[in-house]
């Protein structure tokens, strides 16, 4: 149990919001509620929370926009709640900066499991080297710092965990399943698009030319690896 963890829940249906709040409070977390996107942004600016839960279908500014706005200033883990898993919504939500998604109706147990997975700290590199270097890319896992060409770049917590995971065995190919398990805590049944979109997002930050990645490269049919 992570004591003192604060969750911001953005949902316009009052009943759902209340029921989810009750269930999350049973986990020992404190829950702040918002029923519109505007209210959510105000609340987050006033006091940033540890996890944000956003329903995509919101009156006024929608969930994607709320997500993008929060991402401009924060690397907080964001979970999107979508109506359907097979639409473009999922990919759009992930591209807007969400770390994970859930499809309505979900069981609060699933939500708690997702929150716990996102709150895990990045695994420190077990090797002695706490300072990893790949060309112009520099990773300091323990400090949560990544530099490209000497400049610090801002990654979300999940992007950072993904990068550190790949960096833990440079040159080794990680399948999507393995990355889903190590970074998101999913088993075999996780959605591979989580990995794909996060890799895409990661590339826009760590690659000089994201269209021709030199660090995080795709190994067709197998997965991804960090080029040494």
């Amino acid at each position: 149990m992570i004591v003192g963890t604060r969750i911001l829940s953005v949902e316009d249906d009052e009943r759902i919001r209340t029921a989810v709040k009750l269930a999350l409070e049973d986990e020992g977390w404190s829950v702040e509620e918002a029923d519109t996107g505007e209210q959510a942004l105000t609340a987050f600016q006033r006091q940033p929370s540890d996890v944000v839960l956003i329903d995509i279908m919101l009156p006024g500014i929608d969930g994607f926009e709320v997500c993008r706005s929060i991402r401009r200033t924060s690397d907080v883990p964001i979970i999107m709640v979508t109506a359907r898993a097979d639409t473009h919504d999922v990919v759009a939500g992930l591209e807007a900066g969400a770390d994970d998604y859930l499809t309505k109706p979900f069981a609060p147990k699933e939500l708690s499991a997702r929150i716990r997975a996102l709150l895990r700290r990045a695994r420190s590199s077990d090797s002695a080297s706490t300072h990893l270097r790949f060309g112009d890319l520099e990773i300091i896992p323990d400090e949560g710092v990544v530099r490209r060409a000497g400049h610090e770049i801002h990654l979300t917590k999940t992007e950072f965990r993904l990068l550190v995971e790949l960096a833990s065995s440079p040159g080794r190919v990680f399948s999507r399943e393995v990355l889903l398990e190590r970074v998101w805590g999913y088993g075999y049944f996780g959605d591979g698009r989580l990995v794909d979109v996060h890799v895409r997002r990661l590339r826009t930050k760590v690659e000089a030319d994201p269209a021709n990645p030199r660090h995080v490269v795709t190994v067709r049919g197998l997965g991804y690896k960090l080029q040494t």
């Binding site: 009943r15 097979d86 109706p105 075999y188």
Partner: protein, 465 residues
Amino acid sequence: MRRHFAHLPRLGLRTRITVAFAVGALLMSVSLSLATVALTRRNLLDQRESSATAQAFTNAETVRRQVSPETDARPMRVLTDLQTPSGSFPVLWLSGNWYAVTPEFGEDALPDELADMVRDGQPARMRFAGSETTHLAIGVPLGSEQEGAYFEIVSLEELEGTLESLSISLVAASIATTLAGAGLGSWAARRVLRPLAGVGRAAGAISAGRLDTRVDASDDPDLAQLANSFNEMAASLEERIRRDARFASNVSHELRSPLMTLAASIEVLENQRDEMPERARSALDLMIADIDRFRQLVEDLLEISRFDAGVMYLDLEEVRLAELVMQAVTSSTDADVQVDIDADLAGVVVRADKRRLVRVIANLLDNAAKYAKGASRVELRKRDHAVLIAVEDDGTGVPPEDRETIFHRFNRGSLANRRLGIDGVGLGLALVGEHIRLHGGAVWVEDRPDGHEGARFVIELPVAS
């Protein structure tokens, strides 16, 4: 007789039009040919007859002059001196004696009737069948001064030859005309039926699920009407199907919100389970189980309404099938079921929607759990360019008459009566069918090959070679 014909396969419209054209052409060309032959024959005969007659009279006059008692020429000499075209044979009867240039065409060749008539002083003409061909015989009495008659036998062989080659040409022309008629009929039929074939293709496409298929409106007013009515029908059909699909989809969407509240609330209650009195706990357990069922039903309904609305998209990726089957079994309620996987299938990769394929296998395992106390064996093996995933159980099996309908929605077949513990809704197998079809595969149920009682559900998926 009628009954007998009723059993004959009915000819297609195209064949019938072609045959009608061919028969029409045949009848027309044959009657034209017959008329032509008859007319030509009569004309030619008339001509030949009148020229032969004129010639015979001229010759008769010559003969009469030369054999008159005053000249006393020899009759044979007179005959041989006559100028007769080839095929004309003069015969002379004079003072009771017969003279002929060719013995073959002498008095015996002449029809008696004609000879008698002419000898009685009456000029006559007659056509008769000779040994090989038709002949014309003309007889002219030589006149009152002398008892005699001049005859000429004219062979009509040449004329018959002409008519024969004319007939042959006409028969050939008739055959050609008939064939041309058949060809024209076939072309016209195809031409006329082409829009109909287009409508047929469109109807096929619509029944295959491409609801937005329409036929091209034609410039031809006769065809435009057909095309327009067809398109109107297709449009209203499409609208109705879409409305039904939307309805199912909307209902399911509307159900999500209350379901979400229920799912979250029941969990809060579940956390207090230990503090509840016994009766409340029982009620809570019932609710938990049924909310779960409710959720499954809504999810299934939503999924199936996506198929109906044609907005079902697979999230295809390369999947190691053996691993997927193992994972699907391990995460099911039947985790300890025996799984047989062909050794050479270990590395086989298919393009599939991983989560949906897992769901399909889970549905088959659920089905076995519901109706047969669980699966007895799961098998994965290769067959030609496909892989088979089979789920077997020890239940009562599926009778042949239910093997098709068991994959229909909300259809639990007559087995619902026999199988025990029915608490599912009949969408699981329908979804299996829809998903597998979308994957380009097939699913069916059969008897267990080992002869034991029980059902064997088989999924066949194509493997890219």
